[in-house]
Subunit: 288 residues, 2 copies
Amino acid sequence: MKTTQIGFIGTGVMGRSMAGHLLKAGYPLHVHNRTKSRAEGLLRQGAQWHDSPGSVAAVCDVVFTIVGFPDDVEQVYLGDKGIIANSQFGAILVDMTTSSPLLAKRIYEQAYRPGVSTLDAPVSGGDVGARDARLSIMVGGDQPAFEAVLPLFRLMGTNVVYQGPAGSGQHTKMANQIAIASCMLGVSEALAYATRAGLDPETVMQSIGNGAAASWTLSNLGPRMIKGDFAPGFYVKHFIKDMRIALESARAMGLDTPGLAQAEALYQKLAALGGGDDGTQALYQLYR
Amino acid sequence: MKTTQIGFIGTGVMGRSMAGHLLKAGYPLHVHNRTKSRAEGLLRQGAQWHDSPGSVAAVCDVVFTIVGFPDDVEQVYLGDKGIIANSQFGAILVDMTTSSPLLAKRIYEQAYRPGVSTLDAPVSGGDVGARDARLSIMVGGDQPAFEAVLPLFRLMGTNVVYQGPAGSGQHTKMANQIAIASCMLGVSEALAYATRAGLDPETVMQSIGNGAAASWTLSNLGPRMIKGDFAPGFYVKHFIKDMRIALESARAMGLDTPGLAQAEALYQKLAALGGGDDGTQALYQLYR
């Protein structure tokens, strides 16, 4: 049986770790990235460079992509030198970018005619989760394609869940970001309130950190807010991108999400003040 | 040495469990409640009934109160037949109602002249926490008074933290409620979005329940939202009370809390639709 050829397009902080796990497992890996220098670590480990997404797709059975914005996804998949136009019959294309559910459906439909399957499979867990192969991977698309790619997903993540037809992975990630968005406001406001009231926020955490107010955000980002550590775990500018996609998608479904709208407006304000490259916990600065 | 006489005013769902722990530990207990019938369980166990808060205070070394609204607290403490006017010199009065930090300071100041100490010590953990003596107790007031009452607090809670001068317990509880308020929006919107997008919300929970979107609200109230179980763990009407106190207190400190304001407005809407006696997870209904 012919060895599965794997493509990986997008070798930024997330992609290079994820692709590295595939390479270490022994798969021949074909890579492309807008900035070639960021693929060099993988090339040294034996990955083969290609000058375009289409050139990767032409020789691969499975192609993973994790790029920046929905516009990048659209170009990589649907452009002239893009993946779909150059894919082999029977190939499976997996977009792991956090992107638009509507775009994921469009890509799925356009790939169908040339006999190509697509999956939308955004992740959570950040750079640490990518490095440690402990990502949560939320997958939409046809179930047989999911089953075929599952062994590869398991090289990158510990929580791999099939969520439903094309777009369902992105919708799940949007639900994740919607839950986080308002929670970030709650934690910021709670700690700002505590500080303004003259309390010691670390002592307050002892009282409220493990009860009904408990959250990942409070436990993990609360202490950074208190310390004034706004270094990026997850960039404000990327969170804004995600919230905009979620808002657009919610509107398209006729769902009003005032908490999300409020959060997006506040993060916009933060970005306008120069905080786009800070971590999401920098929202706290708006309250000081 | 004379046995410590303990008073307990307010024997509702929370108070009767908390008072019961003191009684079981062997302390003589003097009780009063607006509705006498709700104290009968404690009376059968040996507590002594009094017709007014002042009558309780007149014979007690330590008096606990847990009543409904700040107006009730004010009347119980500062009214003619109230606790302060009738307390013994050296008594310690402990309000465990979730109430106004400003009122807590006022009570502290008015008690000071007759030689009485006060503590504000609101709790979290709900009726189950009260029953199992596993409450989180957040305490403000003078530290010596806190140290004196600590053995009694430990009969009612597992997480007892001194937060600072008078009002600090209430401020801490407000921080707790502020964190919860926006989180509740996030969880409601995330699950409403998921459902509207055609996903199975329980499968979505598998993807998002343990990562950066994780929260007590998502894990504990999310499943009830999905099932349409809006039975009260914590009443909407009481949550509105708490959010109003927090908003008032934040405004008094010049702190803008848009997430909290939004949450309070939505819960008001829910109450106006008849949801005041539902549990807080009923917010989800606004999104369906």
